[in-house]
Amino acid sequence: MSASKEKYTEAQYLEATEYEPKTGTGKIANYVDTRVGGTSIVREFGRKVFPDHWTFMFGEVALYSFIITVVSGAFLTFWFDPSMSTTRYSGSYAPLQGLEMSMAYATSLELSFDVRGGLFMRQLHHWGALMFVLAMSVHMIRVFFTGAFRKPRELNWVVGATLLVLGLAAGFTGYSLPDEVLSGNGLRIIDGMLKAIPVVGTYISFFLFGGEFPGNEVIPRLYALHIFVIPALILILIAVHLFLVVMHKHTQYPGPGRTQRNVVGYPVGPVYAAKAGGFFFIVLGVLSLLAGTFQINALWNYGPYDPSPVQAGTQPDWYIGWFDGVLRIMPGFIGNIPLEFVLPTPWGGNSIATPVLVPMIPITLLLLGVFVWPWLENWITGDKREHHLLDRPRNAPTRTAFGVAMVVWYLVMWGAASSDLMATHFALSLNDVIYWLRAAFFLGPIIAYLLTKRICLALQRKDREIALHGHEAGVIEVSADGEFHEQHKLPNEHELWTLVSYEAPAPSGPRPNAKGKITAVEKVRARLNRIWFEDRVEPVSREEYLEVLGHHGESPAGLEAAQSREAITSGASSDNR
């Protein structure tokens, strides 16, 4: 739409105003359209082209799970009473009858046993929440490993990362609401983490809980956060996220005809709109299947909250697992030396709870790392260009290796939250599980980095090999003079494009600044840049390709095909420039 000129001619305006629909549906549609102006929306958005790949749909899953969670959550609010005032349970669950409990727990039980469809909705809400965070995580992993966060999408990456953190917050506040022993234990850990903050920790904890833990304020407060503040923030950020996606246009995988300037795919209307609408119902179906067949958070097991017992198998939901796990693998003592100590202060000393504070370091580093990564990578590589074509993970070996290392680091912390179940279910000693996890915490990421980088480089070499010599056809030929030789099938144009259209620049070395000096920071950058780019497999160049084709002594028809391939390879390399 150009703003400078008149959008439509006089005749077009007249045609639009004088248009008389003939059918009943047409009349209704025209009535609405002349008042709402849907045509321009449909015209603009309905023609928006999106590329097609299954890995692009995780964000959609996150959105749909969020909607399902909001709707099922609204149902739950009709019965749930977020009050910590006590009552005597008289509902239909026999093993808890007559026990004193909070209204929050009693109404959660009522929802589970006395409200028609209540248990299903509770389970749908919970499975939906697990799926919401899962889909966001997988979506983020996809974006990271394909380099979709690069310019111009850095800010949208930050919006996404914020959404993930908000998802964790939404999940945790919800997990804490039913006020049974399990959620109380979770809150107790949060309370412990808050209190571990030197000097001000106790004040923060008292502020949150309205006095000493558990108090009788925290559930209503978490409820306000859970049903109002956090979902509102999530909704706003989803809107921003989607707006930016539409504005930037979607990224696409490299392929024939796909460039930095176009999007190859299908328009939203009508096919994608229908598909996306249908996919919502698939997600709803999968979550309903889970909610209807698999029990989740059987809160009647845990009993009304009591600060004294901690039950075996007390774990947070999966996305908070890494907080729990990293606390589990942190030792409280080294030998006989306690890691907790008292810092002498004029007012009598403050306890420094190192065993709780130190585990917060990897968590903070990982979360902070997610937020700053686009700029960090950009700074190291010195790449200031826009990127709308995605990287195949193997074609960015250092990023992929580093990403896998961080995923492994996360997985070790996450897995540590189930250390007790690993011990019982694999007949291991709990102590050994913890020792191995401690080793894996430090060694796992390093091993993962080295292995992944080698695997990426090996895959790149394999791609080179296929581009130049083709696939092994599995057919052995014997020539007239008795020479054996295997037939190779050259890749077709589509495959060749994918195999050769990437770039692997050499390390760039330190660059002097405006005054012509190389600063210390620049030296660090150059060093990181060398680590980043020093191991590389160059993509097949046009000359190499033609030489190999000549060497194979292709027939005239083959040469013709080679020329068209040549066009593709040169096209691909120019796209990256």
Partner: protein
């Protein structure tokens, strides 16, 4: 009689009386023990001497290599003097004893002895010294128990090792608290009174028999109710839920994503 009444202040009267008293009690005790021995040699309540004798034979053949010929214990196994019939009922009745192999703790397996042999062994072990006995049927009758109270007691005393749903949990060095699903009432009771493996003893002053019955009633009620929300995923809580969403949940969705994008229009 007069002579007797006159001599009652005699200096030796006290001694004579003491002698008489001692003789009488001693004689009575001797008579009583002889009578008792006539029934069985040191037979514990509820068992017969034949059971003790038969139990001793079974013991020598199956248990003595570790626990010693007179159950006095050895490097390989503890002394069984004073562990009571309840210990035998639990350890042998659940198949933990005789132990298949040494390890962090005795594993449950199909019992090696039938009920008759188990009570014979119990009789022998009980005859070695006083210890917790087999509970009366009254304390195992779950209809008389209060499951709600039992649930509360269970969560306070048991759930930290056995899990809130009785699914079991890990202990240190390869030891673990087993699942309580499908365990006989008598074995739950005797486990509490004897504290097998790493379990603490919950004696009658700690948890009275009525409370033990409540706990059993809770566990049995819980077992009968099943899992109201669908498949229980092992009653393990968030870990198995997380595993399911990352496996089945993700697989179903990826499957539908691949299907949706396999035909572009």
């Amino acid at each position: 009689m007069k002579a007797l009444s006159q001599k009652r202040r005699h200096p030796f009267a006290f001694v004579a009386l003491l002698l008489l008293g001692l003789l009488l009690t001693g004689g009575l005790y001797a008579a009583a023990t002889t009578v008792n021995q006539a029934q069985a040699s040191n037979t514990p309540d509820g068992f017969s001497s034949e059971q003790v004798d038969e139990g001793e034979r079974l013991f020598v053949a199956n248990c003595a290599s570790c626990h010693g010929m007179n159950a006095e214990g050895s490097d390989a196994g503890p002394s069984l003097v004073g562990v009571g019939a309840a210990s035998v009922e639990f350890q042998v009745g659940t198949g933990r004893m005789p132990m298949q192999m040494s390890g962090p703790q005795a594993q449950q397996k199909p019992p090696q002895f039938n009920e008759e042999q188990t009570s014979q062994l119990a009789a022998y072990v009980a005859s070695l010294g006083a210890g917790p006995g087999i509970p009366d049927d009254e304390w195992l009758d779950i209809d008389q128990g209060d499951p709600a109270r039992g649930g509360e007691l269970f969560r306070i005393n048991c759930a930290m090792c056995h899990n809130a749903a009785g699914a079991g949990g890990a202990l240190t060095e390869g030891k673990y608290a087993p699942s309580l699903h499908g365990v006989d009432a008598v074995h739950i009771y005797t486990a509490m009174t004897t504290g097998p493996q790493n379990m603490p003893v919950f004696n009658d002053s700690n948890i009275p028999p009525e409370d033990k019955r409540d706990i059993i009633a809770f566990l049995k009620t819980y077992e009968q109710q099943g899992s109201p929300g669908g498949f229980s995923l092992g009653f393990l809580g968030p870990v198995s839920e997380g595993l399911l969403i990352w496996t089945l949940g993700l697989a179903l969705l990826i499957g539908s994503m691949v299907w949706l994008t396999s035909r572009s229009s």
